[in-house]
Every structure is written in C-alpha cells, then in structure tokens.
Amino acid sequence: MKRGGVEVRSFGYFLQLRTGVFSRSMVPAFFAVLCIIGVVVAKLDLNYLINEIFTRLGRNTFLVLSLLIPVVAGLGLNFGIVIGAMAGQIALVIVTHYRIEGLTGLAVAMLIALPLAVLFGWLTGLVLNKAKGREMVTGMILGFFANGLYQLIFLVLVGTVIPMNNPTLLLPSGIGIRNTVDLIGVANALDRALDGIWDGLIMFDLGPIPVGPWRIPLGTWLVTGLLCGGISFLMKTRLGQQMRAVGEDGHIASVAGIPVNRIRITAIVYSTVLAAWGQLIFLQNIGTLNTYNSHEQIGMFSIAALLVGGASTRKAGIGNAILGVFLFHTLFVVSPLAGQAVFGIPQIGEYFRVFLAYGVIAVALVLHAWQNRLPAKG
C-alpha cells in the first residue's frame, strides 16, 4: 500500500515477514508460552500436572480426532459431534440398564451406538448439504435442537412410551432418567484394559525428586493410536482422496464426477460415529454420566482444542489434534491456579481461567483469520 510515497505495510504482512514460515505454528506457540508462564507462576506440582495431562490426552483425543474428517471434506468444524455424543450416551444408558459390565459393556455400547450414530450422522449430513457454506453454525443449532429431543426422550418418554423398570436409573416417579447415572460398570474399562500387561503406573524417585504417581491410560492411548492410523489410512484411500477433492473445491469435484453431496454426508457420518465412540471413551474415564449435560461439554472444547493445536477450519491434521489437546488442557489445569497465585483470591482464579481460556479461543480464531488472509495479500 503506497501512502505519500512511503510504503506502508499492513501489520499482517509485517508479521508474515518477521515470522516467515513460522506463522503456521503461531497459535500453538502462543499457547505454549502461556502454559509455561502459567506453570511457573502457579508453582504447580508437576507430578499432578503431568498425571492430569496423561489422563486428558486419553480422555479427549479421540473426540478431537473425530473432527478431522469433516474439515478435510470442506465442512469446517463439525459442531454436530454433540449429536454423536448423544448416541454414545443412549448406548451407555442401555448398557447400564442391562448391567453389561467391563470391556464387554463398553464394546456392546459401541455396537449399539454405531447404528444410532450412523442414522444421526446421515440426518445431520442431509441438513448440512442444504446449508452449504454455513455448516458450522447450522451444526451448532442442530446440536441445540437435538438436545431438546434428547431431553424429551429421556425425561418424558422413558417410563411412559418407552417401557423401563429400573429404580436405580429412573426417577422415583418412574418417568424419566435420573440426572446422574453411575457408570461404575464400565468405569475405566478401556483405560485399564491392558492392566494384564502393565497397569500404566509410573512412580519412582529420581534422586531427591519424586516422579509420579502418573497413570497412563494405556488401553485408551492404544485405541486412540489405532484411530490415528485409521484416519491416515482413510485419507490415502479413494474415498479419502474424494473427500479431499470435495474439500478443496466442491464445484470442480462435481465436474470431475465425484458425488459431492454423498461424500459430504459420508464425512459427517464418520465424524458422528467417531464422536459417539469418543464420548464413550470420555465417559468411561469420568465414571459418571451427567445425563442431560455430558454431551454439551464436548463440542466447544474439542473444537477449541483443535484450533489451539494450530488447525484451521480448512486444514487440520492428527498432529494438530494431539498438540491441541495437550496445550489446551494444560492451560485449563494451570490457569485457575495461576490466577489464584497471582491475585491471591480464589475466585479470581476462576475468572482468570475463563478470561484466558475463552480469550485465547477468540485469539486463535482471529489469528487464523489473519493467516488465511496472508497468502492473498502476499
């Protein structure tokens, strides 16, 4: 831009010059710095922090990975994973009702969730195809809508239309599921699935420094690893290539003879099924089902984690997901304690955390918008 003979560069351009190719890692780097500052300020017990992060990597990564396929297919961040999570929860209620426990219980829940999630995903896909270009906000509103249906089913229809007789699950009136369901049967079923080989517990003294106790949810990490492999493989198949083509440019893809709408629906179905299973993994780790709210927790936080990991609405990889979970959750653990340590007032810790956590989600979005504009300007 020329102004009065002097060349004035936009800030974005300046940033690009300064950071060069590093700009793609700007968001994660920013978060990493925040995390480190937080850890130092909060004087956090690192054994606690590391254990917490190991747990959360197991608990959340599968869910975050479920977001990747729609991004590749050009549908942006799938806020509709909330609907997949509901499918997982329905399966869990059924499994708890029939008292199927342990790893078998979880496997049965996955099987039950599969057709439900396929159906929900298909319906979501149909709607999103009608709302091309506005998939994210449509997905979010669909989540609210589905939440209403979910409440109707579990609060009113169970015990009236859907016969069920189980005093531990139903409210005393016999209608509606209780607001918390104890998942003791499947609690940690996957996390501890490999206990026979190694229980994942790390605890020793490194000279004067106590290390641990850290517990690695081995089974969950393994399954998450398998999913990473699965997604990489899928992207190399014909379907994966078609998804990529649709994601790059729907019009060109359709000219090339790719059934765009079908591919988009397939992507959403995959994502919804993975979200359902991801929610099962999440809940088996938590150990209790918050019947009417557990699913609400996941959409926003999974998406935030992915963004923090350096993904954008158009480009996201497995690395982004894992790095994102690591950074986002470190910040979530560290920030309330950092806030409390800095200001000395407990509730400021909470306000500080909210400010930081949501503030940085906003910053992540802004930084992405910036980066998207850079190539166009440069």
Binding site: S25, E52, Q151, N179, N293, E350, Y351
Partner: protein
C-alpha cells in the same frame, strides 16, 4: 516439521521448569480443602469459605468451581483432584457439590482413600452420592415441600406457582419436592400451578431466564390475582422473582436456597455494609425494614440462616473435627450439635438412608 520443533521446545521447557521449581509442600499440620462457587453463582457459600479462613488461618485451601459448571465438569474434577494432590490436605469440603463431584471423589479415593469428603447441597443423585461422600449437608427438600406450602397459606396465598425447567426436574429431590408441594396444595385447598422457565444453563443463559421471570410474574399475577405464592427452583431466578413480587404484590414464602442474603439484598437495592457481613440477624432486620417501607410487610419470608454459608462453615467444622478424630460423621446427634452450634439456631435433622451420612435439615422461617 515445525510442529515437531514446537513440541520439542515445549518439552524442553517443561523439563527445565520441573528441574527448577520442584515444589515441596512441607506443612507441619493438616489442611482442609474448600471448593465453592464464585460470588457470581451463590455468594453465601463463597463468603462462608472466607469466614472459615478468618476463623482458622492457615488451615484452609480455598479454590472455586467453574461458573459454567454444567459444561466444564472436567475443570471441577481437576480442581478437586488438584487439592488432593497436596499431601497435607486431609479433608475436602465441596459446597455446592455440583455434578462431577462423585467422579472427583472416586478419582481422589483411588490414590488417597484417607481424605474425608463433606458435600454441601449435592446436585447429583442422592443415593449415588451418599455412597461416596463421608457426609452431606442439604436443606430437607422433602420436608420443605410441605413447610413452604403451609407457610404460603399462612401468609395468605390462595394459589401456588412453581417455576422450574426440565433439567432441574431431573434432580430426584427437586422432582419429589414438586410432587409433595402439589399434594400439600391439594390438601390445603391451594391451586398448584407449574410454569416452565428457560434453563439458565441453556443457550440463552442466565439473562434469558431472569428476563423471563421479570416478564412472567406480572402476567401470572394479572391472571391469578395478588394472592399467589411464587417459588422457583433456581438460584439465579430469585432476585428477579423477589423484585417482580415486590412490584406486583405477590407472595414469596421461601427461595430455592433459603437465606436472607439470597436475592433479597439485590432485589431491594440493599447494600451489605462491612458490619453486616456474615451477621445474618442484622441483615434480616434491614431487609424487614426495606420491605415494610415498600408496603409489602408479611408477604416475604426466608430462613434466618443462609444455607450456602452454613454448608461451608459447618462443613469445615465437621471436616476439622473428623480429621482430628473428635467426631464420627455417622453420628447424627453429634453432627446436628456441631451444625447447630455453628449457626446458633435449633434445627431438625434427618438422614436419607442407612447407606450413608446424607443429612437433611430444616430451620423455622422468619416472615419479613
């Protein structure tokens, strides 16, 4: 490639930090962890923690649960397990024991079975919670189902309006209380009206719920007349409910969590001065004056103690005695005495079942 670089540097930094600032918590005596909401959720429980800190300097480690606790259960769990990571913490008081508490207790007890948990105002399913918490304190919602309606009738109500929403009606005790209220109304000849309000944890958040109350109360009063008792199950709705009742002349026999400080100061524009903090008789007196000034004497009532405040302060007291092995939390008499001593009021105590120490209490109301 670059991501790998970032990863590498993060790891290097983490290890560096770990080496330099290994934290040694060398405390001679024990500590009690206290988890409450911030003042934006329910001020009483937070002020209770502050009072406990003043009473026992150095004993309390106070953290807060998220304002948005329905969505951020993971944070709640992390806050509680974080307290337990400190070896000197021997007891944890969670008030309110919001969803996630049971999961957190279970996680903590895996590695620290010695920690004593006191749950105030539990939200989770009572039969489930009583198996995990060492003791729980909550106002007796079943008994309140009767006592509130009886009080409303005494105050001149001909109809009884119950505001709530599906999520709350999935709480066993709240649903049960509503049914008891309906029965009691039928018995005393009051018409029972149930109105569904927006869930403050829903998309519209607290503002939508509060606005609904402000708009709906005048509608209901116009339809049913002034002699209608208003009751809502949600904390955030109390202030608009009282404000709207003041304007329209309706009756408010009790809030969801009975307390002079819950909703009244805000609705009346009453400032809680330094000398009033924690002094509940004084606060009640001031509220009484304000209400009389507005010509609404006899139309409002509450308990003389703040349940949120007492759950925290009495919870800390019980936790301290339990750690010092001076009380058995299963002894209902001893627990009742401790709590009564803490509040300075006579109370009625009841145990939920023999499977745990889930204590429900009742206090006589004061009418302003």
């Amino acid at each position: 490639m670059l991501r790998k670089k970032v990863f590498f540097w993060v790891s290097v930094f983490m290890i560096f930090v770990m080496m330099t600032c290994a934290v040694f918590a060398a405390a001679p005596t024990f500590k009690i962890g206290v988890v409450t909401g911030t003042v934006s959720q329910n001020e009483d429980e937070y002020r209770g923690a502050e009072a406990a800190i003043r009473k026992y300097p150095g004993l309390i480690k106070h953290v807060t649960y998220p304002d948005n606790f329905m969505q951020e259960q993971e944070t709640t769990i992390a806050q509680i397990t974080g307290l337990a990571a400190d070896r000197s913490v021997k007891a944890i008081v969670v008030n309110q024991a919001i969803p996630g508490t049971v999961a957190a207790i279970r996680k903590v007890k895996e590695t620290r079975p010695d920690i004593i948990f006191i749950a105030g105002e539990p939200h989770e399913d009572p039969p489930m919670l009583e198996r995990y918490a060492d003791a729980a304190l909550i106002s007796n919602n079943r008994a309140r189902g009767k006592s509130i309606v009886q009080l409303a009738k005494k105050m001149g109500a001909k109809k009884f309006l119950h505001y709530s929403f599906p999520r709350h009606m999935s709480y066993q005790q709240l649903a049960e209380r509503r049914d008891i209220m309906r029965q009691e109304c039928a018995k005393l000849g009051l018409e029972f009206i149930f109105v569904t309000a927006p869930d403050p944890m829903g998309e519209g958040g607290i503002p939508a719920a509060q606005q609904f109350i402000l708009e709906d109360v005048p509608r209901q009063v116009a339809k049913h007349g002034k002699d209608i008792a208003l009751f809502s199950t949600n904390c955030a709705m109390q202030e608009p409910l009282i404000a709207a009742a003041l304007k329209t002349g309706a009756i408010v026999p009790e809030q969801c969590c009975p307390s002079p400080t819950h909703g009244y100061p805000g609705a009346l524009g009453l400032e809680i001065t330094q000398d009033m903090k924690g002094n509940f008789p004084k606060i009640a007196q001031e509220i009484s004056k304000e209400i009389a000034k507005k010509g609404a004497a006899g139309r409002f009532a509450t308990w003389p103690v703040a349940t949120g405040y007492l759950n925290t302060t009495a919870g800390v007291e019980l936790a301290k005695l339990a750690v010092e092995k001076k009380i058995k939390l299963s002894d209902i008499k001893a627990v009742q005495q401790t709590v009564e001593k803490n509040t300075g009021h006579k109370m009625q105590f009841e145990r939920l079942s023999n499977k745990g120490n889930y204590y429900m209490y009742l206090v006589d109301s004061i009418v302003f």
